[in-house]
């Protein structure tokens, strides 16, 4: 008897454990591939997974098999020209005897890369594995709190709009039952007497009347108990709880003076995207403020930030000043986690540099969780780098890194956020 079974509704991910095993085994190679991929990836693409390729030779499953050479006999179909004793010259190069079918290849032909897709989450997991936000534990929890209103039981006082109807009516019912207890007991006794009298063959009318009057009186008394009273009322109670803030603001500062070409900006942009992705895994809401500057600083939108052309000199402190202003006005440090990343080619007007250091030290660094400065240049460092170096030595939340090419971004990023050993 055939037994038809519809398995289509069964899970289709029977292989997911094996897939996980595969990823687990090739974690190192995959991570390398992710690191390579991040520099090739379109910077605006933050929602898709990644296609990963691993050299096939790494994932061979070796087994004993016969190699090339020796004497082999083979039968082929479709003879269209040969007679016994014919000699077919071998193609130069030695291999490819006759019509293929040569060495048993155990994995796909000619593909030296094994390619497959990983999902966005897998991608980000791998990308940010072993990374953490620095210095977070050094700050007291109430530094980054916001208050959240939560329910906390019921109370007898409160605002009318918080009345809890069910609880109030329950209390009113209980009160009414309690207060009318003696009256109802009397009514029950009188009614019993009444029914006894009524059952007699000659009911004493006078007594019946007086009984009925007494019952009516008692009932009237019961009715006089108020339906609802002040102390029946129950109110929903709310209280405020301290919650660690899950909001972050990220300031992107960039030098757009003439010396910053599109390539340099692109490198900076990639760095910002990485930082954004990284933060978005830790915080629920993230706002990004773009500040660009040459001799003057200006808050702009994303497109203008990355693509508009400017020329002119460079005064870094203008951007720092603007950032500090915006932060004070819109992002109070008790409610926001403040991150900043500054990208520059290292140029600055020499007289401005001490001012920058001062601004950072006094107005910005005390409030920021992390401030990274990346210098994208192939030239020697200038005064800004040296000043910042001094600052970095004394401020753990301040980090400076040097990037030369696109390939440096991810390693530098990893270095910045490397999980610190306890």
């Amino acid at each position: 008897m055939a037994n038809f079974i519809d398995r289509r509704l069964n899970g289709k991910n029977k292989s997911s454990v094996n897939r996980q095993r595969f990823i687990r085994r090739y974690n190192k190679q995959i991570k390398q591939a992710v690191a390579d991929a991040v520099s090739k990836r379109s910077v605006t693409d933050v929602t898709s997974g990644e296609s990963i390729s691993i050299p096939t030779k790494d994932l061979n499953e070796p087994f004993f098999h016969q190699g090339q050479g020796g004497v082999r006999e083979r039968v082929l179909p479709g003879n269209d020209q040969f007679q016994t004793g014919d000699q077919i010259p071998k193609p130069p190069g030695g291999q490819g005897s006759g019509a293929g079918d040569g060495d048993a290849s155990d994995s796909g032909e000619g593909n030296d890369e094994f390619q497959f897709q990983i999902s966005k989450d897998e991608y980000l997991d791998l990308l940010f594995e072993d990374l953490e936000l620095p210095n977070l534990q050094k700050n007291k929890i109430n530094d980054i709190v916001e208050q959240k209103i939560v329910r906390s039981g019921f109370s007898t006082v409160g605002l009318p709009n918080n009345i809890n109807v069910v609880r109030s009516l329950k209390k009113s019912l209980a009160r009414r039952i309690a207060l009318s207890g003696s009256e109802r007991r009397e009514i029950r006794a009188l009614e019993e007497r009444l029914s006894q009298l009524n059952a007699l063959q000659e009911p004493p009318q006078a007594e019946i009347d007086s009984l009925e009057q007494a019952i009516a009186l008692l009932k009237k008394q019961i009715r006089r108990i108020p339906f609802i009273d002040d102390f029946d009322l129950m109110f929903n109670n709310f209280s405020k709880q301290d919650m660690p803030s899950s909001r972050a603001v990220m300031f992107c500062l960039m030098d757009v003076s003439g010396s910053m070409d599109q390539v340099t900006k692109d490198i900076a942009k990639r760095f910002y995207v990485l930082l954004y992705l990284f933060l978005s895994r830790r915080y629920k809401t993230i706002e990004v403020v773009y500040i660009r500057h040459h001799t003057q600083a200006k808050e702009v939108d994303e497109h203008e930030f990355f693509y508009s052309q400017e020329t002119g000199g460079t005064i870094v402190s203008s951007a720092l000043k603007l950032m500090s202003d915006i932060q004070r006005k819109r992002y109070p440090q008790d409610q926001w986690n403040i991150y900043a990343a500054q990208a520059s080619d290292g140029d600055n007007w020499a007289d401005d540099t001490p001012l920058c250091a001062q601004l950072l030290q006094q107005q910005i660094l005390p409030f920021t969780r992390h401030y990274s400065y990346i210098e994208i240049t192939n030239r020697a460092h200038q005064s800004l780098w040296q000043q910042y170096q001094n600052l970095a030595a004394t401020h753990p939340q301040f980090a400076i890194k040097h990037i030369k090419s696109v390939a440096d971004i991810y390693p530098v990023f990893r270095e910045l956020f490397q999980k610190q050993l306890a």
Binding site: N13, F22, E61, Q66, G70, R72, G78
Partner: protein, 518 residues
């Protein structure tokens, strides 16, 4: 109950009216049932003896899952299956490959997976092919009945899965994975080729596993006893251990490797058992596919002759069937070896022809079967042969001519390839013999045996490779030998016995021991 009888009445009515089965629209379970019913009737008329069928409809994703676990419905977890799955998924999504229409499992009841995407015609083809073709082959071919136990394979796989996951919990995924990797590397050398098995019911496996564990461990320790021996014993020790070379390397390691834990021995056993279970399938590819193809063709044609299926059905079926049995010639771009479906199908058809309409040539070549009852002969062939012997027994000159088979000799020392035989009077036997050899697994797979263990010395293990016609071992041996070393725990060598009886050391792991020894 009532609907059942109603359906049956409908069916009867259909047969009476000689109107064919519904071939419109998509398949439904009702239609599947109806088609199955008529296919089954025809199959029984042809005396196809099968396990009960369990037909499961699955989606393409589930088919990919099934692919990556070699079709088994339960399997232990291993990264290589994940790799296989990812490969299949990639190839399928890029349109580089289609999925099989069905997968059928040699079990009792016989489980066949049908793809949801198939049309009604395809489902009927697949039911005839898998549920009656393959199924009856599994149940009757001597290799399968000797070597596999269809009743308990699913239970055994379940046991294996549970055992391996419990090992993972106890000893960690990495350790188990290492052991499995090494076993997989030797999987092909974990089968008994010549020995007959003693029949053990597999559900006893589980109960016996614990006893075996302790017993095995004590055996091994005995082998490596270090108690001083008397002179007489020393002479004995000069003899090799094992006394005769052993072909089943995994078995030898399971029983004799000095350092393995008992759970590792059990894992080796599991891999060995599964390898042995698949061994008959490797040896009967042409026969198995040919048999199933022959029967789907014969059964569906019979249905058509009886008026059960429509012209439309038949045209679609023939289109699919022709694709399946297409054999590109040697010089075609599509050529990738001999198509087992084509060869097997042609051979079974040819046997039927020889029985029904023998020519003078057939009477000369096949005096036993020419003119005999074709159904008897076919069942006889199905029961008692494997690819190698089937071809050397039944490949007829007629078919050699039809397929224009020719054999070539490729000697790597020469700069040209010899055409050694073609489809003519002088060539038939040679072609048949060569083709038969081509399906002899001992010619295709390297012949490697356990040759010696230095029981009294450094405990090193020596494997010996016996080349066939001077074909060397592939370079992968260097990697595989590392896996052997991991299981054995001491030095492992592999040497090659050349045609002039000289012995040549091919690989040694760890490397430095090679020099020390010489």
């Amino acid at each position: 109950m009532t609907t059942d009888t109603k359906q049956k009445n409908d069916l009867d009515k259909n047969c009476l009216d000689k109107t064919h089965l519904d071939d419109s629209g998509d398949w439904t379970f009702d239609k599947l049932e109806q088609y199955h019913q008529v296919i089954k009737e025809v199959a029984q008329e042809y005396r196809l003896d099968t396990y009960p069928n369990q037909i499961e409809v699955i989606t393409s994703e589930q088919m990919m899952d099934a692919y990556s676990s070699v079709g088994m419905p339960v399997g232990y977890n291993h990264w290589s299956y994940g790799k296989k799955f990812i490969q299949t998924q990639q190839n399928y999504q890029r349109g580089q490959m289609g999925l099989a229409y069905e997968i059928v499992i040699n079990s009792n009841p016989c489980i066949a997976y049908l793809m949801e995407e198939n049309t009604m015609t395809m489902q009927a083809l697949v039911i005839a092919h898998a549920c009656y073709g393959h199924n009856s082959f599994f149940k009757n071919n001597y290799l399968f009945t000797t070597w596999t136990d269809a009743d308990s394979i699913i239970d055994y796989l379940l046991f294996a899965k549970k055992f391996i996951s419990s090992c993972e919990e106890k000893y960690g995924i990495d350790l188990v994975e290492d052991t499995l990797d090494s076993c997989h590397a030797l999987m092909n050398l974990g089968v008994d080729r010549y020995k007959r098995p003693s029949k053990i019911s597999m559900h006893k496996e589980h109960q016996r596993q614990k006893d075996r564990e302790e017993y095995l461990q004590s055996q091994v320790n005995d082998l490596w006893r270090t108690v001083p021996k008397r002179k007489a014993d020393e002479q004995l020790l000069k003899d090799r251990y094992p006394k005769d070379p052993q072909e089943n390397i995994l078995y030898f390691i399971e029983k004799n490797a000095p350092l393995l834990e008992s759970w590792q021995r059990e894992i080796i056993r599991i891999v060995r058992k599964i390898s042995q279970y698949f061994y008959p399938q490797k040896q009967t590819q042409v026969m198995n596919e040919g048999w199933a193809t022959f029967w789907h063709y014969t059964i569906l044609n019979t249905l058509y002759d009886r008026g059960d299926v429509s012209d439309k059905f038949m045209l679609e079926f023939l289109h699919q069937h022709t694709n399946v049995i297409y054999q590109p010639p040697y010089n075609s771009d599509y050529y990738s070896g001999i198509n087992p479906y084509a060869l097997g199908f042609s051979m079974f058809c040819d046997i039927r022809r020889i029985c029904e309409h023998p020519t003078a040539e057939d009477r000369q070549w096949f005096p036993d079967i020419a003119g005999s009852n074709w159904l008897d002969t076919l069942h006889f062939a199905c029961k008692n042969f494997k690819d190698e012997s089937f071809i050397s027994q039944f490949l007829s000159p007629h078919l050699i001519r039809e397929m224009k088979l020719f054999s070539i000799t490729d000697d790597s020392k020469l700069s040209h390839i010899d055409v050694s035989a073609i489809h003519n009077e002088q060539g038939y036997l040679a072609v048949r013999e060569t083709l038969s050899k081509q399906y002899n697994l001992s010619n295709i797979e390297p012949n490697i045996q356990v040759y010696d263990v230095r029981v009294d010395g450094d405990r090193s293990l020596t494997l010996r490779y016996y080349p066939q016609q001077g074909v060397p071992l592939a370079g992968s041996a260097e990697e595989v030998i590392k896996h052997v070393h991991r299981l054995w725990g001491f030095t492992v060598r592999i040497e090659q016995k050349n045609s002039d009886d000289s012995i040549e050391l091919l690989q040694c792991c760890p490397d430095k021991a090679a020099n020390l020894n010489e």
